[in-house]
């Protein structure tokens, strides 16, 4: 089945601190069709995120589909607080890279 990359479908894919102990990810879609396509496909599900980031499910503290913004949003607990020695992303702003190339099946 032919698919497209998430980066070709979503309008915004970003990560950012949510406080000092968590990083939150926002994937925002341009229209309802693409939002529903990706939401239903499961490629951004909790399980899929655990696989992609190599983490336990317990580290995903929140995972919601936020309809007003046509967004899928999830939050991951940091291993060490932001800016502790060894943390190289104080703002948590560069953690979304692996999401860009996720293959989204056509759904037809």
């Amino acid at each position: 089945m032919a698919g497209r990359k998430l980066s070709e479908i979503a309008k915004t894919i970003r990560s950012k601190n949510a406080g000092v102990d968590k990083i939150t990810f926002d994937v925002i879609f341009p229209d309802r069709t693409s939002y529903e396509l990706v939401r239903e496909s499961g490629v951004l599900s909790r399980d899929a995120m655990c696989r992609i980031f190599g983490i336990d499910a317990a580290r995903i503290t929140d995972h919601v589909a936020f309809e007003p913004a046509l967004a899928i949003k999830f939050t991951i607990a940091r291993m060490v607080p932001s800016g502790s020695p060894g943390d190289a992303d104080i703002f948590g702003a560069q953690q979304y890279g692996p999401l860009l190339d996720i293959e989204v099946p056509d759904g037809r």
């Binding site: 309008k11 102990d21 980031f53 936020f66 020695p85 560069q94």
Partner: protein
Amino acid sequence: MPPSIQHGRSANHTLRIVCPNGHLGFAPIKAGSFRIGCNSEPDLICADSGSCDVGPVPLGSDTSSSPLQWQTDDLETMLLASRRLGVPMIVGSAGDTGTNSRVDLFVGIIKELARKHQLSKFRVGYFYSEVETGLLRRRLAGGEVVAGLDGRPALDAATVDATQRVVAVAGVHPYIKLLDQHADVIVGGRSSDCALFAAPAIRQGFPEALAYFYGKILECASFCAEPYGAKESVLGEITMDDVKITAMLPEQRCTIASVAGHAMYERANPFYEHFLGGHLDMSQCRYDQYDERTVRVTGPTYVPASELRVKLEGSGKIGERYVGIVGVRDPYTIANIDLVTQWARRQVTERFGERGYQVHFSVYGRDAIMGSSEPMRSAPAHELAVVVQGIAPTAAMAEEVAMIATRQMFYARLPQVRGTAGGVAFLLDEVMPASPAYRWTLNHTMRVDHPLELFPTFVTEAGV
């Protein structure tokens, strides 16, 4: 569609706020859209200046991450507009961290600017947010639980001992008190981003739910507009029934997507915003496109807290810090980079033993940014940079730790390596002093009897 709120009020009873910057001082205000905002009948000019995004170093070392000149320039831009229009100006979480020294710094800048521009006398209100670690020790000794947030354990005495500085996060209360005392300019200590916008609205009788939402949506200025472009002004208007927000830069618009998208920005969950006194439930919010560049929001709910709990942020020093940088191009060395860093670490151990310092290697080109979550970890780039951090109780020791760890990568002993004249490339054959290393020690909440308990307020005068 109705005419834009930019050109006039949409109801009889409204409060209009221009927000020119989501983090005052961190990057400069863009003047053009701020001028348009000031010509759009604002009742106040408000901006937040703080964030825990900047990491634990500024709070721990009581410094700003924003340059003094940029802080001064932004305050000058806001102050001159506020005095010319005769409307109050509010700045929250002064100087990135909202510590007492940052509040004093901003109050001093305001006074100096008033002298420089020969402004007529006006009243400057300010409040402090710092919490003495002694107070925390007494509370703990009295058996009180200072609860951890985000999975942290409750506060213990050892953590307090390891903490340099603590700020409490204020709600609307000190702002309302200072507005009641007719402050023309308010400089806030650490406070919730939404509080400085919500305070004037609540004081004028607008519903709390709308007022807090108003603050939430205004606090990052043009981050709630599209196309993306930071540091541009936005104008908000609250009525008894709704909140409206519009972009001041002609090239930007507020859309349902951009405003709803911003409502979830920088928060673990898009539906709830917590602050001293309660929380905002945004799950039933309704977003409408009011005019081409304005969004109207209705439906947030305010849930008062059954117990007043104030959020505490604390930072503790780990040690002095030096940094070294090396590059690697040999594919065999790249494939075995962990052996190289292990070798270098072992040389530090031979000199200083196992404890009493830290060495960190960040391997750029492989997994520096994402660490163990990096899916491409096994496919490093054709060249790597390794950034070395040496952290120790004294600067001299930190320098030596960093120097050993950096230089010994040059001498790493890899069994099959062909290049025997040096294992890494030096950008600089030196290690550089960096800010001391700190960590976030407190992300907790503590019970208070009164919302002003930790936030003493003061009023002074500026101008001639």
